[in-house]
């Protein structure tokens, strides 16, 4: 955590102080309401100054989140949130950078940036809200949708393609903090977000956040989600086994390891005229 907390002279900020006045576009019952709430609770727990937090997103239902948080925010184009966030963090290491997005934004159109953000391991927190569907375009299969899901006109016989496994891929790509949370467990998710923000490096929080509009069967997630049976590990091989054997519904901190963080050091002393001298004949 690189950002200063609010000073003693200012009254403590409460979760609602981190909420903006804009009304979310989300449908009733959407898991993202709870994610928004846990984000504000985590920020309040950490007492981060609102102006020193930047919330970055791409496109999709979950990517609307920055406008609903009273911090600096940037709502970019589809799939590029991690790139925007990486540029921001490189330029402004003093800021707390959070990234929000969905399964389509992060794992399909933005998949390459996900890989490279994991391996670059810049100090930021990526909250990927996974509802296994493209909600904003009205219900198409996403990379995390089961191959047999056929309730969509675009893939009437199902995608026939195995699911993308975000946690395993994050591990293979070099993320230093991998957790899974559930919007139906706001207390647990808040704790994970606090840890993720405090972790120095790229923190990946995979959040199961149901879409009841296009995936009403997600109501069952409440019964299927369970805490991870094994203790958190800093051993990548153990974590790989844990994640590989997991049913995709185990929540908790799956992997955490101190790894080198990419943040350039600047010398900051030369005058431009010294550099120009090299050209003189």
């Amino acid at each position: 955590m690189s950002t200063a907390t609010a000073t003693d002279t200012a009254p403590a900020l409460r979760a609602k102080d981190y909420k903006s006045e804009i009304k979310p576009v989300w449908c009733p019952g959407c898991g993202h309401f709870a994610v928004l709430s846990t984000v504000t609770k985590a920020l309040a727990y950490l007492q981060l100054r609102r102006e020193e937090v930047a919330m970055i997103s791409g496109i999709g239902c979950s990517s609307r989140l920055p406008a609903y948080v009273d911090s600096y925010g940037f709502h970019g184009v589809h799939g590029r949130a991690l790139a925007v966030a990486s540029g921001l963090k490189a330029a402004r290491p003093d800021l707390t950078v959070l990234v929000a997005g969905g399964d389509g934004d992060g794992f399909s159109i933005g998949g390459n940036h996900f890989l490279h953000a994991c391996r670059r391991n810049m100090d930021m927190t990526y909250i990927a809200m996974d509802n296994e569907v493209y909600g904003m375009t009205k219900g198409q299969a996403s990379p995390t949708t089961a191959p047999e899901w056929d309730r969509c006109k675009l893939t009437p016989h199902g995608t026939g393609v195995p699911r993308f496994r975000p946690a395993g891929i994050a591990l293979a790509a070099g993320a230093s903090f991998i957790a899974r949370g559930f919007s139906g467990d706001p207390g647990g998710l808040t704790r994970l977000l606090v840890e993720a923000i405090q972790h120095r490096g790229f923190s990946f929080v995979h959040v199961l956040s149901p879409c009841l509009t296009f995936r009403p069967e997600h109501k069952e997630w409440k019964q299927r989600v369970h805490p991870c049976r094994l203790a958190t590990t800093n051993n990548a091989a153990e974590a790989a086994r844990l994640i590989q054997e997991d049913d995709g519904k185990a929540t908790g901190l799956l992997y955490i390891e101190d790894q080198p963080v990419w943040q350039p050091e600047n010398e900051d002393h030369a005058d431009l005229s010294e550099i120009e001298a090299e050209f003189r004949v």
């Binding site: 920055p66 709502h75 925007v84 540029g87 921001l88 490189a90 330029a91 030369a270």
Partner: protein, 575 residues
């Protein structure tokens, strides 16, 4: 060989050096350019290489004079063959005349028949004889000595240039090179009995176009660069990477161009002036991100070094064919800036100006250069610096009523930078209200679109929108790297009694329509010159209804550079 080969009162020469992979043609060119600088002249060196990564055939083309050199001329005075393998690949690029000389070592075999139609004279120089006594002696160093003597370059300039270019390779390399240069120069000079002239030019720089673009970026205040390597733009990045660090900046190597453009948007949102460098394929990939920068009013600059297209095209060679993409590549109504550097030293000025304009106007600036500027090296007057004080207007104390996209008289809304209390907003590519709240209302779209256009249209760009010369009834209108050949063509015509005007556009969008009309007033003959097939600038200007009906277009695709002589011929045909 006992007479003077060239008019020694005029030191201007054009020299081409060719050779197969590993023969050192490009190093030879670099050393001769450095010698030109040491001798007090101005110069220009372009290079041509095959597609091989290492070891392909290559050619270095050098032209120098007592005055600044704008372009390659119509013919070369001297062609040096380090060997004659693959010479046919370069014949198109090295026009010779009966007044030209071909330098060849009889030991490497005769100059090929393909060179004979030009009628150039053959001079046999025993390069190998000068290298044999020297341990580690190289043919190209002997060629430097002999060519320097024939061209009229003083030995001390050549010796100093060897140190300038090869110094980092160690004393042994420098010593053996100097031995070859001296032996060849002394022997050749003794036969010619010419006293080399010495130039008196004031302070000059030895700089490439890509280095100048990097310098312009730093002078403009750029402190974050994110980019993906691409030919022929990578030298901008390689030059910047260590130097940005020295002034507190950062260079981030991105995973692709989609990332690089979005990274600089993120950095600029954070308040740091940011730039990426790329070429056509990369610019194509960046189009969506640049539209985001326009809509969210986040200043960013793209240095686009054009190469032959479409698709992968000719990565190592030049063309001015990305103008349409730069002008029209974004979806939606997306007003932005498009600029073009006119020569090597102007890469610095135009890039610096572009950074300042983008920052002040909170928009995208695309700076077009090309391979023929970027990868060429010149001995030039020190590049001009932009003196305007345009910078980003920040909201320092935003307060409760702060609106990020407030409607203002000039269309520029003060920008709150993260870290500023009470300025919190969400930058957005969605259409938005003045407060930045997403909106699909007709009123908001109209108001915000109008503001984004107005801030560019009514800004006072001053005199830098074009470089103009002359005021004759014959007018050449051009942009970017074609300007060099155009200015030289106009000079020759004017000197020959046909006053010729040049308007070289530096600011292509927004087009300064009224100023351009005034610049073209009363032109009886008007020719638009550019290096692409379709007349991209010509039709762009026509769409603005700024060209008189009798205007004609002269251009062709790359990669062969436009030459002054063919521009004069084209002008004769339309007169």
């Amino acid at each position: 060989m006992s007479t003077t080969l060239f008019d020694s009162s005029n030191p201007a020469r054009a020299i081409a050096i060719t050779g197969s992979g590993g023969s050192g043609a490009v190093t030879t060119g670099q050393i001769m350019l450095a010698a030109v600088a040491r001798a007090g002249f101005y110069g220009l060196m372009t290079r041509s290489a095959g597609p091989q990564i290492r070891g392909g055939e290559s050619a270095a083309m050098l032209r120098y004079a007592a005055q600044p050199v704008a372009c390659m001329g119509d013919v070369f005075d001297i062609l040096v063959g380090l060997d004659w393998k693959n010479i046919d690949r370069f014949i198109d690029e090295i026009p010779l005349s009966p007044d030209s000389f071909i330098l060849t070592d009889p030991d490497t075999g005769p100059a090929p028949d393909s060179l004979h139609p030009a009628g150039a004279k053959i001079l046999e120089i025993p390069f190998k004889k000068y290298t044999e006594p020297v341990e580690g002696g190289r043919i190209n160093m002997a060629a430097i000595g002999a060519t320097g003597a024939i061209a009229g370059l003083p030995l001390d300039a050549l010796e100093a240039a060897v140190g300038d270019v090869l110094g980092r390779k160690g004393e042994a390399v420098v010593a053996s090179s100097l031995a070859c240069v001296r032996a060849a120069w002394t022997d050749t000079q003794a036969m010619l009995c010419v006293t080399p002239p010495t130039g008196t030019a004031p302070e000059r720089w030895n700089i490439s176009g890509n280095e100048a673009s990097g310098l312009g970026a730093m002078r403009g205040g750029v402190r974050l660069v994110a980019a993906y390597p691409i030919t022929p733009a990578s030298e901008i990045l390689e030059w910047l990477a260590p130097r940005l660090n020295k002034v507190g900046g950062v260079l981030l190597q991105a995973e692709d161009e989609l990332a690089s453009v979005n990274m600089i948007i993120g950095a600029s949102f954070g308040g740091v002036p940011s730039l990426t460098a790329t070429s056509g394929p990369g610019l194509s990939l960046m189009a969506e991100g640049l539209g985001l920068a326009v809509a969210s009013e986040t200043p960013v600059v793209v240095a686009n070094v054009m190469r032959g297209g479409p698709s992968t095209g000719i990565p190592t060679r030049s063309e001015q064919s990305d103008l349409n993409l730069a002008l029209y590549g974004f979806h939606g109504d997306a007003p932005h800036l498009v600029l073009a550097a006119l020569d090597i030293r102007d890469c610095a000025f135009t890039t610096q100006w572009a950074v300042r304009l983008a920052e002040h106007l909170q928009t995208v600036a695309i700076v077009l250069t090309d391979q023929s500027l970027g990868q060429s090296r010149g001995v030039v007057d020190p590049p001009d610096s932009y003196n305007g004080d345009h910078r980003r207007i920040r909201a320092e104390t935003p307060g409760d009523a702060y609106q990020r996209y407030a409607i203002t008289a000039d269309g520029v809304s003060p920008m709150a930078i993260p870290g500023t209390p009470d300025g919190m907003y969400t930058g957005d590519g969605l259409e938005h209200t003045p407060a930045g709240i997403p909106s699909s209302l007709h009123h908001d779209h109209t108001q915000q679109s109008e503001k984004r256009l107005r801030k560019l249209q009514y800004f006072d760009y001053g005199e830098h929108w074009a470089v103009q010369s002359g005021n004759g009834p014959v007018c050449l209108l051009t942009w970017g790297s074609a300007s060099g050949a155009v200015f030289e063509a106009a000079e020759r015509l004017t000197a020959a009694g046909s006053p010729t005007r040049v308007v070289a556009l530096r600011l292509l969008a927004p087009l300064r329509v009224e100023a351009l009309r005034e610049a073209l007033a009363d032109a009886e003959t008007l020719l638009v010159v550019e290096q692409n097939q379709g007349g991209q600038c010509f039709y762009y200007l026509k769409s603005h209804d700024v060209l008189p009906a009798h205007t004609r277009f002269f251009g062709r695709p790359g990669p062969l550079a436009l030459r002054p002589g063919e521009i004069i011929t084209a002008l004769d045909e339309v007169k």
